[in-house]
């Protein structure tokens, strides 16, 4: 058995060598990728050393340096506030009408931190270990260690800002255990932790707006990245009220625009959540890493019909007391569940996983729900050809704890369920179904959160770096705030120490080209004048993605999806219908741009999933499973980050004004561990 190396120099694993090549013909192999900013030495000293090595920027110079930050969720809002406090000239952009509305606000459960307030054996190293293991050994160990290290500072910072975390009777902070870990390290504010953390960051941001260090651009959407001499030097943004296409130059650009789960059309993301900022950067050279890593959450309220616009998550704590089942017989699926006798019910998770039962990890619970519905044993309304729902039944728990006991634990969730479905879960079993919730993939960044485009940094869900192939509960908020408050401000200064860079005028040829390209695309959307709305294309793309690139993926299905997406893309550019004008608030136009980018991203996700012929974390390839149907990770071939480079098509669709997407180039970054050993998981 290999031992971990405290000096941090000898890896416990060998670089992988890929044998299979499912995606042959869909990609071009590229040069291996090495993170030029990889830290060295014992893992516990790497971040401390890096903070010291990174150069400082003289306080008098900071106001001469302009930082653009796109997105005002936890990662973007916290970074804008912190860099503003430090004295930089910050320009902050969000598509919402106020920075307070970014989708971090919807996170329910909590935020992890290695405070060990419960004295239950938690530590930085344990949080690090749990996170790498939870990510199925597909994240970088140095990044994750740093995340665990700064987690405790986040709680201090938020409390100082007035975030009203839950407290015990003595007035000290309360913790709970979350997402199946054995220590209580999750800080929370009822079921609204994301809201409270975001309001903390938002208020810090608004304070800097008043102080004059941050200029806030609400209802602005980034539509292109300006690069000059290979460096990020600003963005082209559209004022969504006036329609003006604006040029904003800067010394450095930060993308903190969140995740792209809406490529599936239905997800727990906000309606406006999109990939455009990240995708525009990708088209300008930034690598997109592990795009196929998607987290699907098992306990969401099912789709009720074709009109469905988004899905609502219910805390997975419900699985602590609810029992999941479907009828044994298809004929019972449209019966009142209360009339189905005990012997005709299949408590399938308890049956397949007797030791973990209803508490199996998110991806297993999700996949098994899909399997029973695919067999035709789903419940609830027909959506397409299938009923997509399983029962989450509280009748045993109500008998055990009384209705009062259940109310005390879950009342707000039961109310929410009844408001949306019109059914009373105290009387009738709840129906749940998995939904896309989070993406682990994102723009590739080095240890300093800089992309391969110099001067372009990426933080929060928009980057790929910390969660590997699966994210643990209560870790998204932790990463967003770690990046925004503590990591980015300490790494961006190394880049800015060489600035201020030569001013770029609005008439610089590269700036003019970017602006004209954005304008050309807007004009094209309005000129197509076809038959179909952008929303209808989005829905069709979502169906393809969910069917073939969702919970279970096969080579055959993914190839089918790629063909389908390509066809859809051609139709989109020739048959789209956008009414209204470019120089006014035009939500159909906004949507068209986002869907165009989702179409390209969807294709890349399928190619990435096709290439990765292994099952890891949220990515399940049917071809790679154990005899028991469990995910089978293949470290010998796939212990690497897949970083994709955009390539323009050789043969352009003449209807696409910016040129079509060509065959992407795959760069592999090996994942080597010194402080941890890779293990296969088992929940049987």
């Amino acid at each position: 058995m290999a031992m971990t190396d405290p000096s941090g120099t000898v890896p416990t694993n060998k670089p992988s060598v890929q044998v299979s090549d499912d995606a042959a013909g869909y990609y071009t192999p590229g040069e291996p990728l090495v993170d030029p900013r990889t830290p060295t030495g014992p893992i516990a000293t790497r971040w401390t050393n890096r903070k010291f090595e990174n150069r400082l920027v003289n306080p008098a110079n900071r106001r001469k340096l302009t930082v653009i930050i796109v997105g005002t969720g936890l990662a973007g809002g916290a970074a804008a506030a912190t860099l503003g406090e430090a004295g930089y000239n910050v320009k902050s952009f969000c598509y919402q009408d106020s920075p307070r509305r970014a989708h971090s606000i919807a996170a329910q459960g909590g935020i992890n931190a290695a405070k060990n307030y419960k004295e239950d054996g938690d530590s930085v190293h344990r949080l690090f270990y749990d996170t790498v293991k939870g990510g199925d050994y597909r994240s970088r160990e140095s990044n994750v260690y740093r995340l665990a290290e700064v987690s405790a500072n986040i709680i201090d910072q938020c409390v100082a800002q007035g975030v009203p975390f839950a407290r015990e009777y003595g007035g000290l902070l309360d913790n709970r255990s979350f997402g199946g870990v054995q220590v209580s390290r999750t800080f929370y504010a009822r079921g609204q932790t994301g809201q409270q953390l975001l309001i903390g960051a938002y208020q810090a941001l608004e304070r800097q707006v008043a102080a004059g260090t941050v200029s806030m651009y609400t209802r602005h959407e980034m539509l292109d990245l300006i690069t000059v001499d290979g460096k990020a030097r600003g963005i082209i943004a559209r004022d969504m009220v006036t329609g003006a296409v604006e040029t904003h130059t800067a010394d450095v650009v930060v993308i903190a625009s969140g995740g792209y789960g809406n490529v599936f059309y239905l997800s727990t993301n906000a309606m406006g959540s999109n990939v455009t900022a990240a995708w525009r950067a990708h088209r300008k050279g930034a690598l997109m890493a592990n795009p196929c890593y998607t987290q699907i959450h098992p306990t969401c309220i099912p789709v009720s019909g074709d009109h469905q616009s988004k899905l609502t998550l219910m805390s997975e704590s419900l699985r602590n007391d609810g029992r999941i089942w479907v009828p044994k017989n298809k004929e019972d699926c449209d019966k009142d569940p209360r009339d189905i006798p005990e012997e005709d019910r299949d408590y399938y998770l308890e049956r397949i996983y007797p030791s973990f039962g209803n508490l199996v990890p998110r991806d297993i619970a999700s996949r098994q729900a899909k399997n029973v519905c695919d067999e035709g044993r789903g419940v609830g309304p027909m959506v397409g050809d299938f009923r997509r729902g399983v029962y989450l039944d509280f009748s045993d728990a109500i008998a055990r704890l009384g209705k009062k006991g259940i109310e005390a634990k879950y009342d707000n969730l039961f109310d929410m369920y009844e408001r949306i479905t019109g059914e009373n879960p105290y009387e009738v079993p709840m129906r749940i179904y998995p939904a896309v919730h989070y993406v682990m993939g994102g723009l590739w960044v080095d240890y300093d959160l800089q992309s391969n485009v110099p001067g372009l940094f990426v933080s929060g869900e928009a980057n790929f770096s910390d969660h590997g192939a699966n994210r643990l509960g209560a870790s998204a908020l932790m990463q967003g705030l770690a990046d925004g408050y503590f990591v980015l401000p300490n790494t961006i200064r190394e880049y800015l120490a060489d600035g201020p860079f030569e001013a770029i005028g609005d008439d610089h040829p590269d700036v003019v080209a970017a602006r004209e390209s954005v304008q050309g695309r807007i004009d094209r959307f309005l000129a197509i004048n076809g038959e179909r709305s952008a929303d209808s294309y989005h829905k069709e793309l979502g169906n393809l993605m969910w069917e073939y690139c969702g919970m279970e993926r096969t080579a055959e299905g993914l190839r089918k999806a790629i063909d389908g997406i390509r066809e859809l893309k051609r139709d989109f550019w020739s048959n789209l219908k956008v009414l209204g004008t470019a120089d006014s608030l035009n939500q159909s136009l906004e949507k068209a741009g986002r869907v165009a980018d989702f179409l390209e991203l969807g294709e890349l996700m399928c190619i990435d999933a096709l290439n990765r012929r292994e099952s890891c974390g949220g990515h399940f390839r049917a071809e790679s499973q154990t005899e028991d149907g469990e995910a089978l990770r293949i470290d010998e071939e796939f212990a690497y980050v897949a970083a994709w480079e955009f390539t323009p098509a050789v043969e352009n669709d003449p209807n696409e004004p910016q040129g079509s997407m060509g065959t992407p180039v795959l760069h592999k970054e090996d994942l080597l561990y010194t402080a941890i050993e890779m293990k296969q998981r088992s929940y049987k």
Partner: protein
Amino acid sequence: MKLTLKIWRQADAQARGEMRTYQLDGVSEDMSFLEMLDVLNEQLNASGEEPVAFDSDCREGICGTCGLMINGQAHGPEVTTTCQLHMRTFSDGDEITIEPWRADAFPVVKDLIVDRGAFDRIIQQGGFISANTGSAPEANSVPVPRDKALRSFNMATCIGCGACVAACPNGSASLFMGAKITHLGELPQGQPERDTRVVNMVAQHDHEGFGGCTNIGECTAACPKEIPLDVISQLNKDLRTALKHGH
């Protein structure tokens, strides 16, 4: 079900708006109110009329983006956000009037969308605790009594949707301000700036064109997060104290 919708249409801030009537068939009771409008918009797009512009984002009642006057009530007949209102609340054949928030301090941008930037500017004047990143003491070094932490949290659940303003005959944002004053004022960390916070926020509120409070209580009735009216008493009390302190 089949509905008659009377919707405010206004091309931009300068244009003169008007109510327009639309017929919508095939509405399912499982649709949310905003999904019903999505269906209308698909229909309008197909028929060549520009879709109705309205704001929404999370569609789970927490971001505060959506907000419509539905039959004269902010967020409609139930105590929730517009996005969480479902069509089973309505009946076949109903006529539903849909307007934007009405308040001088919230100018209409287009159709059903208003500009709530005034809320951000009120927060800028003091709706925060000054604590630069990195300067925070250990989180458990300052205990907070549980009842105070709980009251603070309950007031911090305000989503800044603006329903309180839209419902108030005076167009006052006192409930919004009172919630923030109470959220921060209940915590030990919020004490050093307590006086300046309330004075500056109230000054900005008045400057933005929000009206004064005359204790009507429509605000709390319309609030989807059920922020209680007593936060306005807290606001007045904090203001009196600050003025007594010479601010």
